[in-house]
């Protein structure tokens, strides 16, 4: 059961070989065994999970079955879920039991899925290693001395360690794809606007996008069918026709043109990552794809641009945490301003403060044009690069990260080194394009390597097809960490 695909689980449930209660108990037991070491979950609430499982069993016995009915899904702790502690990895929300459901949660609930727990994450999704979580870092299940990536490290770890069949995540600069790569699983960040942001705690609103994590592309397609869709409560939600993201999975790839950006392969990529990625490209050639060289000349600017725009938006979004309406309030203060200052000084961790200060600075009087406006202009150039590249190819491929998972502490004192681990991913957020990562092998110290697939706007079904076809001829996505045997 722990290794089963979502489709297999659905068949088992439909055939009454197992009940949702039993399935939920299996995963709760797995979490109980492993979470002490891996710290993938901030909150587990057996009673609430089993209540949902019971309701799912009723749905199944009355014939109201949807593809995910009765299946446990781990929810990133950035999504407000009614009655669940929702911390966003921060002390600021350490007492916040959400009074309402995010749209994503609502959609999973309506699909009859079971919330198996709330997953650990970098504080307010700001980090690439999970070391900024107030609740302690998540460990990489392949090697507990390595980081799982971030910010959705808990979700990635939960799927990789088979503590959940699937999970939700969010991606502002790489927070789905980077931890998926580092933990050896599959994850997709959809086109901006495809998945509702309502009830998803905001970091940088013009970049934030939710998406699923799972073992395979086939599973991701089923999850996308639940997650994507218009939501009137999100002002940037796209009004589009409903899609079946599984529809193209079986299409052959013989007419596929894969673009390889020469800048990605020039320098900066470690040798072990390069050889795994090249082997994957070779596999795609065998599947009939044509390889073309493309150019993304402004990619190198994506990190500086990202570190102006994301903190600027964050400094505005996080101003809501003031100790008045919800969350943490400092125990002692002299007046209102002192209350704000002490609440925010005590409630936010170091990385969040750094980014709020960067954002406040770049938006402050006299600096706006030099930083914020200039970054917005460069954002246009970065997006234009992709538009040009997509004239010559259907998808762009490269490494998800320059190196395999690093050790704890290796980059935590050096914010810039940490930021550079998102060098290949953040440009797609700036452009608003969909991106995904799938496992394509192992590098140094036997740590997983991810292949980054960037598609054109709204081409998720095609990207899932491309990933699925690779997963039909390889088995990297079926590997689980051997140190955590699945009974």
């Amino acid at each position: 059961m722990l290794n089963a695909s979502l489709k297999q689980l659905a068949h088992q449930l439909a055939a009454r070989k197992i009940s949702s209660i039993e399935l939920t108990e299996i995963f709760l037991e797995r979490i109980k065994t492993l979470n002490k070491d891996l710290n993938a979950f901030i909150t587990v609430n057996e009673e609430m999970s089993l209540d949902q499982a019971r309701a799912a069993d009723k749905m199944i016995s009355s014939g109201q079955v949807q593809p995910l009915t009765g299946i446990p899904v781990a929810q990133k702790d950035i999504f407000c879920a009614k009655g669940w502690l929702t911390t966003c990895g921060s002390k600021m929300l350490s007492n916040f039991v959400s009074p309402y459901d995010a749209t994503i949660i609502e959609r999973f609930n309506q699909a009859g899925a079971v919330i198996i727990g709330k997953t650990n994450m970098d504080e307010f999704a700001m980090g690439s290693s999970n070391e900024t979580s107030y609740y302690g870092p998540v460990k990489n299940p392949w090697d507990i001395s390595a980081v799982p990536g971030g910010s959705s490290g808990g979700s990635a770890c939960a799927v990789a360690a088979r503590m959940a069949p699937a999970a939700t995540a969010t991606d502002t600069g790489g927070s789905i794809r980077q931890p998926a790569a580092l933990c050896g699983i599959s994850g997709i960040k959809p086109t901006y606007g495809l998945v509702s942001r309502y009830g998803m705690i905001a970091f940088a609103s013009s970049l934030d996008q939710a998406g699923p994590m799972a073992k395979s592309a086939e599973d991701l397609a089923l999850l996308m069918n639940v997650m994507a869709g218009f939501d009137a409560r999100d002002s940037t939600s796209m009004q589009r026709q409903t899609e079946d993201y599984s529809r193209d999975l079986e299409k052959p790839l013989d007419r596929l043109r894969i673009g390889l950006p020469k800048e990605y392969f020039a320098k900066g990529m470690n040798h072990d990552v390069a050889s795994a990625v090249e082997a994957a490209i070779a596999e795609y050639r065998k599947l009939g794809a044509t390889i073309v060289e493309v150019s993304l000349p402004n990619t190198k600017l994506s990190i500086p641009v990202y570190y102006v725009l994301a903190p600027a938006e964050a400094s505005s979004n996080l101003s809501r945490f003031d100790g008045v309406r919800y969350g943490y309030r400092a125990p002692q203060y002299s007046d209102l301003e002192d209350m704000y200052k002490k609440t925010r000084a005590q409630g936010f961790g170091a990385e969040v403060k750094r980014r709020i200060l960067i954002g406040t600075y770049v938006l402050s009087h006299g600096y706006y044009d030099a930083y914020y406006l200039q970054a917005q202009k460069l954002r246009r150039l970065i997006a234009n690069d992709f538009t040009e590249a997509f004239k010559q190819c259907d998808v762009i491929m490269g490494p998800t990260t320059p190196a395999v998972a690093f050790d704890f502490g290796e980059k935590s004192d050096d914010p810039i080194q940490m930021y550079l681990s998102d060098i290949y991913t953040s440009a797609t957020n700036l452009a608003g394009l969909p991106g995904m990562s799938i496992p394509v092998g192992f590098g140094d110290k036997n740590r997983p390597v991810g292949l980054h697939i960037v598609g054109n706007y709204f081409r998720e079904a095609q990207m899932l097809n491309i990933a699925h076809q690779y997963q039909q001829v390889t088995d990297w996505h079926l590997r689980a960490p051997e140190r955590l045997p699945v009974a």
Partner: protein, 95 residues
């Protein structure tokens, strides 16, 4: 551009985050490093480029001016640090 300790303190105050002398000093070192990375942006000539404020070019949707939400203030205030008679309590601001 060089950032000063006073800049850090001023920005922290604008952001309503209390910061100690030690923290400000440490923050100065880190922010200076990050800004030297950000400075790479200045090398590019962007005259004539339209700023891109959002991932999608879309118009803000408008909706009918009708009530769509019910009053749930009791539920929403149940998670507030201090509430009295339906009001959020803060330290006195007007003498």
């Amino acid at each position: 551009m060089t950032l000063s300790l006073d800049d850090v303190k001023r920005v922290a105050s604008l952001a309503r985050i209390e910061i100690s002398e030690d923290e400000a000093q440490q923050m100065l070192t880190q922010l200076s490093g990050i800004f030297s990375l950000i400075e790479q942006m200045q090398a590019v000539d962007t005259s004539g480029i339209e700023p891109m404020s959002h991932a999608q070019d879309m118009m803000q949707r408008l909706r009918e001016d009708v009530v769509t939400e019910s009053d749930q203030h009791l539920l929403f205030q149940s998670v507030a640090p201090q509430v009295e008679a339906g009001l959020y309590l803060v330290p006195k601001v007007i003498e």
